[in-house]
């Protein structure tokens, strides 16, 4: 469950909250962190998606976004410092005496107390491993709670997976240790699509089995019509749809819609497709093009990781996230909801 883990990932958070986790208090010298958004938007769904580049771990991406946001927030003009009255001797020539002088309170000076914001709570959604790339959902502040609600909606994700016939490696990717080399001239697109249909069929059976719905009821029919049949609890990885986008020997590209998967599982699928076709295959690229309601268009590139773009992205995605959660939860609240949370996500 993402919920229990996402707070404890960042090392800065752990260091800062040592011994204060249970009390849930802040360090006495640190401010409460809030992004500058108007008060009426405080309870909104602060989620946005970034594009994670390949070759970088997901927590480094999260830290980089946090660092950039903090830099911009600290660069914003601060409150004018408080001042107080001090009685100092009169400097100019005049009657010797004390003059009340207003001096700024240095304890609040930026150089003394440090930067105003030292930490932002940014949580991560479904993770991507180092070699994979694609849409990576992050949540800020209140959005972290919404992340766990989104997780419970069990929405499917879409990947584009590139593979290459002729090789087999130990970790199913093209950078692993080579195990064998095979021929692949006998492979045609029809054979590949036949295999894909078989995979889709078996996975569809698993989908129905894990959704815990009796297929013979009217309710099952309604769910199927709305497209809401999916396992609402823990289940092994399930592929809901798979099709071939490109086929140019030895390379091919697949589009996979799946649930509860890991990227290594998708690489293993590519390897097994190679085996089924009496050859071997390795996976050269795993790229997530959609995670629930967040698509490639919503994902922010590295050059766009600044406060303004992130705020715009948050505002764009809010409505979609809200409708999606409402749609799933309103249906499952009436019936039994395995794996759902007891608190209402909308409010």
């Amino acid at each position: 469950m993402e919920k229990t883990k996402q707070w404890g990932w960042s090392p800065q958070w752990r260091k800062c909250c040592r011994g204060r986790k249970r009390k849930n208090t802040l360090h006495p010298h640190k401010e409460r962190q809030h992004l500058p958004v108007a008060a009426e938007q405080n309870r909104q769904r602060w989620l946005f998606a970034v594009y994670k580049p390949p070759g970088v771990a997901w927590n480094r991406v999260r830290d980089a976004v946090e660092t950039r946001l903090l830099r911009e927030l600290n660069a914003a003009p601060a409150w004018p410092p408080r001042s107080r009255i001090r009685f100092l001797p009169a400097a100019s020539a005049g009657p010797p005496g004390l003059v009340a002088v207003r001096v700024p309170v240095l304890a609040e000076h930026r150089l003394v107390r440090g930067p105003r914001f030292t930490q932002l709570k940014i949580g991560a959604g479904h993770r991507l491993d180092v070699k994979a790339s694609g849409v990576f959902v992050l949540g800020v502040g209140h959005g972290n709670k919404i992340l766990s609600h989104l997780y419970n909606c069990h929405l499917s994700k879409v990947y584009t997976v590139r593979g290459q016939f002729g090789k087999a490696t130990k970790d199913f990717s093209d950078t692993g240790k080579l195990i064998e080399k095979t021929t692949f001239d006998h492979i045609t697109r029809e054979k590949l699509e036949r295999i894909l249909a078989v995979i889709q069929g078996t996975n569809h059976k698993a989908l129905l089995m894990h959704s815990n719905i009796d297929m013979k009821t009217q309710e099952a029919y309604e769910l199927a019509v709305k497209g809401l049949i999916r396992p609402m609890g823990k289940s092994p990885p399930i592929i809901t749809a798979i099709r071939c986008l490109q086929f140019a020997l030895p390379e091919f590209q697949l589009e996979i819609h799946c649930l509860h998967e890991t990227q290594q599982y998708l690489r293993k699928i590519v390897h097994e497709i190679g085996l089924e076709l009496k050859s071997s295959a390795v996976c050269t690229q795993v790229r997530r093009t959609r995670d629930g309601v967040f698509t490639l268009d919503d994902a922010l590139l590295r050059t766009q990781w600044n406060l303004q773009s992130i705020q715009n992205a948050i505002l764009n995605c809010q409505l979609r996230v809200k409708t999606e959660i409402e749609k799933t939860m309103s249906h499952w609240d009436g019936t039994c909801a395995p794996g759902g949370t007891s608190t209402s996500p909308l409010g």
Binding site: S83, I85, A100, L106, L111
Partner: protein, 384 residues
């Protein structure tokens, strides 16, 4: 009638009261009272800003007043909400005049006269907390710290080092932030070292530059500096003039550890296969290589040489590619391959030089080198 200020300090208030010339007719017998700013402060917070009534004529000094004028504890921490940041003299204005429109009783001023009974009831907090984990609590009351803040020293960073800021010295603010130890050094030792550097024919401006970039330089003894300069000269095999040039541009070489430098040189020679003169050239042009991490160096070299196919002589001519981020190189190279413009051989047409590949900002790179728009580059980035 006692004229008291509503003070916040038990220990300093007596001196403060004396300082203000607000003499107690009853003398120091009021020693038992402190001020109770807490209820007063809270009420002051709710009240609109007001100005103090100061009568300069009243400041007939008792003997200690002048001497204690600069004492840190002479301040009256009256909590008044004001907007101005610069110190300004407060002209006198009676509270009553300010609030003649108000129906309420005019708010109490810090310098208002209160009866002795009330004064007895006021309890004060200690002005300076006896123990504090930050310098914040002390900065208003310590002249040293105040002056440092005015110089621009970032005290929050100094705190993290957990060292006391000792003797005062006249150095630059950011320099002190990085190196508060310098304040503990003898002035003579510092002068000897600067003299040594001058004897090695480093100019004044160069010495300043070196010291500001490597703040710990002046902490090293003369022998240590000598050893390091000699070591660099031997390892790199460069002439004296070139070594000096190198050290001026990258003084951190002198202050860092020596083993990683040696190891990096070995890596360049043995693993990457550069010749000794090539290594010298690279080290002279980009001395940062000598202190870079080996893993990063290896990854960058591997991508540049094996995947991009750039030969050693090209890398020697443009060693700045080793300093740039691998991800940036990868993205740009893949974009050029996608466009079919990845040509790094100067003998072929439409050649792209390596330093242009890494050093140009994105927009210039897209328009000039790749001859594509930046939106295309962004769309491409989302496909890798």
């Amino acid at each position: 009638m006692a004229v008291w200020a509503r003070l916040a300090a038990p220990c300093g208030w007596l001196r403060a009261a004396g300082l203000l010339g607000l003499r107690s007719r009853g003398g120091a017998a009021r020693a038992c009272c402190g001020a109770a700013p807490l209820p007063a402060l809270r009420s002051a917070h709710r009240l609109p800003p007001w100005r103090l009534r100061v009568s300069v004529a009243d400041c007939a000094q008792p003997s200690r007043a002048k001497g204690e004028a600069c004492a840190p504890r002479s301040s009256l921490p009256v909590a008044v909400k004001q907007e101005q940041a610069a110190p300004e003299t407060v002209s006198d204005l009676s509270a009553a005049k300010l609030y003649e429109d108000w129906d309420d009783v005019p708010p109490s001023s810090a310098l208002e006269e209160i009866s002795e009974e009330e004064a007895v009831k006021i309890i004060a907090d200690p002005l300076l907390p006896p123990q504090s984990s930050t310098l914040r609590d002390y900065v208003d009351h310590s002249e040293t710290l105040t002056k440092l803040v005015h110089l621009g020293v970032d005290l929050s960073q100094v705190e993290k080092r957990q060292k006391d800021v000792g003797i005062e010295d006249s150095q630059l603010g950011p320099f002190l932030t990085k190196n508060p130890y310098i304040l503990g050094e003898d002035l003579e030792a510092l002068e000897t070292r600067v003299a040594y550097l001058k004897s090695k024919k480093f100019g004044n401006a160069e010495i300043t530059q070196m010291v500001s970039r490597a703040p710990y330089l002046l902490l090293f003894s003369v022998e240590r500096l000598d050893n390091r300069l000699g070591f660099l000269k031997n390892e790199l095999g460069l002439s004296v003039k070139k070594t000096k040039d190198l050290v001026i541009r990258f003084p951190r070489l002198l202050t860092g550890k020596l083993e990683p430098v040696k190891e990096n040189l070995q890596v360049c020679q043995v693993e990457f296969g550069f010749q000794r003169n090539e290594v010298q050239q690279i080290a002279f042009k980009t001395p940062k290589i000598l202190t870079a991490s080996k893993k990063r160096l290896r990854q960058t070299f591997d991508y540049l040489h094996n995947i991009m196919g750039i030969p050693h002589n090209m890398l020697t001519r443009f060693p700045q590619v080793f300093n740039s981020k691998l991800l940036r190189i990868k993205e740009r190279h893949m974009f050029l391959i996608f466009l079919g413009r990845a040509q790094y051989d100067p003998t072929q047409p439409s050649y792209i030089s390596l330093d242009q590949l890494v050093s140009l900002p994105d927009e210039v790179f897209c328009t000039e080198i790749a001859k594509a728009s930046i939106q295309d580059f962004e769309k491409f980035l989302k496909t890798i």
